[in-house]
């Protein structure tokens, strides 16, 4: 035992002496870092919204399970036309919203009309652009017509952005969400917590938990203390740096799973000197992925060599495309005409993985002669500067959308990669429904963007949950954002 761990163990030992945890067997308190600005998942992009309400308060026609597969939700079954343009859903009977109003096909139509309307404020409106019409066939049947085939259509229906809301309550969902899920919203003590309670008349199988609170604790040290003191029962994503506190503690279990977050060193492909492939290749060689993963994620990140989630069946391991090689990097820079290197800015959003990776990358780049100036920014400013105005050289960001390789086919996207071949391949991919073909296409795109070193591909973020050892049924992976409560239960 090292001296450093003594304190942690002492604290843990005292915990054991303090006797059994006080938690009731059907209630749970979950610590989460960020408080949602609103509780309406259709009116904001914040992950924090989905963490609280997704699949708990609100449900979609289908739902995504732990493995990322599409399962029936409010729709018990569906049929797809041959051309892939018409989806007909049969809805579950006896479903009610938490305010008691009944759910039927009209609510589905309302939800999607609202999402697609001119003045819609849905953040992911673009994902649903292929929908050309939603038709109520009868109260328990609804039909979607698409303008073009979309391989991800069903998955997208399962996202938090496409949950079904009722016309009576939709406007008020931000403050007082009313959905059809197994948990009903009870109260929101702003700045402090959201409380949910089991919804008695839930149409499906009743969950084991009767009550759940999401407690907002942004500070890692504080969250650590709250977990140790038993003031919260778990958290879905705990800062990797302090995981050691819980790793060998029998009172807790640490769940390490995958997310959809590809963390990349985004490079402004429109801007000198990054327009030069050799420069981008040199940067790729300069990166020591292992050191970054160790330093920024304490080893929990999974290395990636392209923009794709490693746990996905389509994933291709391209991490060796440009191995860490300082000499190669210097040579490439010299070939590109930057014998003495160059300087650039690295704009960093306020997340720990970005700030830490940034410092490490700056140190690594310095070895090949690239001087990085680190500029730390708030989210709002980062979004405006980097994302909207594309005023940046480099940035570090995790792209958490599932299956989002399509961003490489959009030359207007913030990193500005314009490759006709990728654009054509992506179009084909979107219109293809055959799995084998899709896999081949997706892997071809992965290979091209890796070779082009469009961005520096760093790692896939891990989800590192810390939970009371007596809890079970938590999602280990995060194929979509959210803390799904329905399967969680206390074991005696």
């Amino acid at each position: 035992m090292t001296a450093r761990n003594t304190l942690a163990l002492t604290v843990a030992g005292l915990l054991l002496m303090a006797g059994p945890a006080l938690a009731q067997p059907t209630e749970i308190r979950i610590g989460v870092a960020l408080e949602p600005p609103t509780l309406d998942p259709t009116a904001g992009a914040a992950e924090a919204i989905d963490v609280v309400v997704y699949q708990n308060v609100f449900e979609g026609l289908v739902r995504i399970d732990q493995t990322g597969a599409v399962q029936p939700g409010l729709a018990k079954s569906w049929t797809i036309s041959e051309d892939g343009l018409t989806y007909r859903f049969a809805l579950n009977e006896g479903v009610t919203f938490h305010d008691g109003t009944a759910f039927d096909a009209e609510d589905v139509k309302f939800s999607f009309d609202r999402l697609l309307a001119e003045d819609s404020v849905n953040a992911q409106k673009a994902l649903y652009a292929p929908i050309s019409a939603v038709t109520v066939i009868d109260p328990m049947t609804v039909e979607f017509t698409l303008s073009r085939p979309d391989g991800l259509f069903l998955f997208n229906l399962g996202r938090g952005d496409a949950v079904i809301v009722a016309p009576e309550s939709a406007a008020n969902n931000g403050a007082e969400p009313i959905g059809t899920g197994p948990f009903a919203f009870i109260q929101w003590d702003r700045g402090s917590r959201v409380v949910l309670e089991q919804y008695g008349p839930y149409w499906g199988e009743a969950p084991a938990l009767t009550r759940a609170s999401f407690v907002f604790i942004s500070d890692t040290a504080t969250l650590t203390n709250a977990l140790l003191a038993g003031d919260v029962d778990g958290t879905n994503n705990f800062a990797a740096e302090a995981l050691a506190v819980f790793e060998n503690n029998p009172q807790f279990k640490v769940l390490v799973g995958s997310t959809e977050g590809e963390t990349i060193l985004s490079t402004n492909n429109r801007k000198e000197p990054f327009t030069d492939l050799k420069v981008r290749q040199a940067m790729a060689h300069a990166l020591d992925r292992q050191e970054i993963i160790e330093g920024a994620t304490y080893g929990y990140g999974v290395p990636i060599g392209t923009h794709f989630a490693p746990h996905h069946p389509y994933y291709l391991d391209l991490t060796d495309t440009y191995p860490h090689d300082v000499e190669a990097a210097k040579t490439l820079l010299a070939e590109a005409g930057y014998t003495d290197g160059f300087s650039a800015t690295l704009k960093l959003p306020p997340v720990a993985y970005a700030r830490l990776s940034g410092q490490i990358i700056a140190s690594q780049f310095a070895e090949v002669g690239i001087e990085l100036e680190l500029i730390n920014m708030e989210w709002a400013q980062w979004l405006e500067d980097v994302f909207a105005n594309k005023d940046f050289d480099l940035t570090i960001i995790s792209h958490v959308e599932p299956f989002d390789i399509g961003i490489y086919a959009n030359p207007d996207y913030y990193f500005g990669y314009d490759n006709a071949q990728v654009q054509a391949l992506n179009e084909t991919l979107n219109a293809t429904t055959d799995e084998a073909d899709r896999l081949a296409l997706a892997q071809e795109i992965q290979t091209i963007i890796a070779r082009d070193a469009v961005n520096g591909y760093l790692f896939e973020l891990a989800q590192t949950g810390v939970w009371n050892a007596k809890l079970d049924g938590m999602w280990q992976n995060a194929p979509v954002e959210g803390v799904v409560l329905r399967d969680i239960y206390w074991v005696e």
């Binding site: 992911q124 409106k125 203390n225 405006e384 994302f387």
Partner: protein
Amino acid sequence: MGGGFHMTLFLVRRMAGFAATLFVAALVIFLLLDLLPGDPARFILGINATPEAVAALRTQMGLDAPAHERFLAWVGGMLVGDFGLSTTQRLPVAELIAERMAVTLPLSLIAMVVSVVVGLPIGILAAMRRGKATDTALMVLAQTGVAIPNFWFGMLLTLVFAVTLRWLPTGGFIPWDEDAGAAMRGMTLPGLALALPQASILARVMRTALVDVTEQDFIRTARAKGMTKSEAIWRHGVRNALLPVLTILGLQFAFLIAGTIIVENVFYLPGLGRLIFTAISERDLVLVRGATIVLVVVTTATMLVVDLAYAFVDPRLKGRDA
């Protein structure tokens, strides 16, 4: 001198100055916030939203009107108690602030009470034992109390009393009407963390003030009347020494109302400081300016109260402009 009339004049003058300060402060806040980079609509909708959706949201949030119209609408609204709607949360700002005040105000009061109850006696004791070992020990304690960063001390308190002893929660806030006892327990540690530096400052100010007063002639007069030195300090010195302490108390209360943000972070309390902090990062300008002006009002009002209290306690100031 006509005390009553002068007192009224004094009040009226002070109130007029108060109003003027607030108006200028409102203008400063508004202008400053208007300069902020970052689009609130873009923030809400995130990186994948279409420009049309962002534009639609901007219109909905009333960000398209010219600046002077928005300023007048804001000030006009506040005069009738309407602080506007939060852009991100879509709720009345007044309501949001009131919720947070239910945490910040009692927390500040607890910290004040603790610091007064602990700090003043220590200061008095040190002054009485001036130059002796007790004095030195107490002042070393007070120096350390001022020097320890707030969040560090809060963390230490949590580790001892919440994590190890489990006497008190690590933080969080249970609303008063739900369980007042739990709310109180939740405020204990943050209250202590806030009180430590304040009590240390109070102890030092009290000591200095009392030492100064002890050198005044009227203490000698009291002793000449037949009091011992410590009796004279108790009966005549302490009350006079409280005058400078009163100013510090006012400053401290104003500071506590706004300055609890760090402790709120450590103890995950939904206070006003954190509200402003998150509101700015979310570019919820309506909320930010509402909350900021409330803080300014509280600070200014506290100063006003201190001034009035001074006039009340010190007969020399009655009816005079301070």
